[in-house]
Symmetry: C2
Subunit: 327 residues, 2 copies
């Protein structure tokens, strides 16, 4: 949920609270119930995102053991120092024992907060393509090189960033971002000869993802040609979108209604453990609002009343999934 080691774990606490309610309500589940606390969803320390759910779903995480943190300590060393053996991570592969998966999370976006909606019923998790692009033009004197003679790498990057933004704005549930950009040589009086930047595009369906891929490649190629720039494009990351299980999504929606909570269906723009687990078993997610859409920041905040509603919705959904019981 957050990236600091010692912050509270509201998701885990919320799951415990939800499960605690079942015996209080004299509900007896017909099936076993697990509470999962997956390690290092964000993966910020070792750049090994979704470590816990990767191991749980049978992914080979031993290859991540050599990834090092900022101090040069590897994941393998850190695990050993805490009394764990990376070689045994395969023991965590138990997804085949699970029938369904629910995840409660803050939205990390502004939609619920701005619309005053208490519960987000997540229908899909976006797919993602990451690119690293280099445009090479010609560095030149900013005063003596007439405008029509320039091969300005930054101008090309600027056009690409703005065109992709327009393309994303014109589509449903699509985002495009240029988050990292550097120019060379980087002198105030020099036309930029090289621009290096990232592109991050996301969409909720496989078809939209394919369209976006083509759009990124065509936009970079066309603008580079028009600006007299040499492009190189490297795809650095690819994760396909995941449709969450329609029946489970309905369960969550009913659970929100039973709690008297306002709700809306929405995609998730961020990756989650559900993204991996949901490729193996039916999965759904419950979102609660993040104030101002802020996350990964000391300003991240979700009101206690919203957390409590989330817990209630989770408990309601568990009751439906685990059997009628005697409640």
């Amino acid at each position: 949920m957050g990236r600091r080691q010692r912050q509270p774990r509201p998701r885990l606490v919320a799951a415990l609270h939800a499960v605690q309610r079942l015996p209080e309500e004299r509900f007896e589940p017909e099936r076993p119930l697990w509470i999962a606390a997956f390690m290092d969803e964000e993966g910020t320390r070792f750049n090994a995102a979704l470590f816990g759910s990767r191991a749980f779903t049978g992914g080979d995480v031993t290859a991540l053991g050599e990834r090092a943190d900022a101090d040069g300590i590897t994941l393998r060393q850190a695990m050993a120092a805490a009394g764990f053996d990376l070689a045994k991570a395969g023991d965590a592969d138990r997804v085949s024992e699970v029938g369904a998966y629910l995840e409660l999370h803050i939205e990390q976006g502004p939609v619920l907060d701005e619309t005053g909606t208490a519960i987000g019923v997540v229908t899909s998790i976006v797919g993602l393509r990451g690119y690293r692009v280099r445009l090479t033009g010609r560095a030149n004197h900013a005063g003596t090189t007439p405008m029509q003679h320039r091969r300005d790498a930054l101008a090309g990057a600027a056009r690409i960033a703005l065109e992709l933004r327009e393309a994303a704005r014109a589509r449903e549930a699509v985002t495009a971002n240029v988050g990292k950009l550097t120019v060379e040589p980087g002198g105030a009086n020099v036309v930029p000869g090289v621009a290096d930047f990232t592109i991050d595009v996301r969409a909720t369906t496989a078809a939209a993802m394919v369209e976006l891929e083509g759009l990124v490649e065509a936009t970079v190629a066309r603008i580079a040609r028009e600006e007299g720039l040499e492009p190189t494009v490297e795809r650095t990351f690819a994760l396909d979108p995941l449709e969450l299980d329609p029946d489970l999504v309905d369960v969550v929606e009913r659970a929100a209604a039973a709690a008297g909570a306002s709700s809306m269906r929405m995609p998730s723009g961020a990756g989650h453990d559900a993204m991996l687990v949901g490729r193996h078993v039916p999965a759904a997610m419950i979102f609660v609002p993040s104030r101002n859409g802020i996350s990964h920041s000391p300003d991240e905040y979700t009101a206690p009343a919203h957390v409590e509603l989330g817990v209630t919705v989770l408990a309601n959904a568990l009751r439906e999934l685990l059997g009628t019981g005697r409640g």
Copy 2:
């Protein structure tokens, strides 16, 4: 002309050659003739551009003595180590003894090379305004923040760079450049919350310069407002344009014609020693082609035949300025 310490000094050699021709042609000047080799026009080592011509025109250069190079050596120390005393730099103030000033230079731009013209008759030296701009939006998750909720500082910077480029393209002898740009926090999956960049605009007339200043300020303010960004704009550099002396410009043009050289009138987009000297006495400049417009680079090249034509034009101009002689 170049920025490395030990490269040849073609301007000085060309001036010596031109002056050498006069007695060879039995020409006797009616007025004295000085050859000037101004120190450190570029000012790259100590960030003290035009040091020599500043001192020659009575500018206070002692304040530059504390500027240090990359190794921490100050200009004052470097001068002392070479046997010079910065305190005596005022002795160089002798512009009042000069009647006219001619400067031979490579174009540092592509116009002569591309048009196949041998001599550029410089009519003016551009004025320059430099700015440092910061746009502050809101860093946010690139996946979970819908497009319409973003306050993307890089998008604002991209629009400003492209609009100023269009404005410069639509005008005569105007340039605009964004040469330096950084974004924060600079993560591929984070909407940029801050963009810092430079703007460099140039024009050849005072009126155009005033219009450009207004345009820069209005463009930054409008786009920042439209994008929901907070702008701060700092003007870091201001140098007014200089019209070269019309009579001396005519002298140079006639000198080119007398040499049988093709010529064209053109502004200079770069600053030169003539920019300071020309504020005190009539000044003109002669340009020779730079291959591909390249300068300040190991690839800088001017063909020997072009240098020789430049020397001939300079000698022709000197004959007209210094009296009819007996040639």
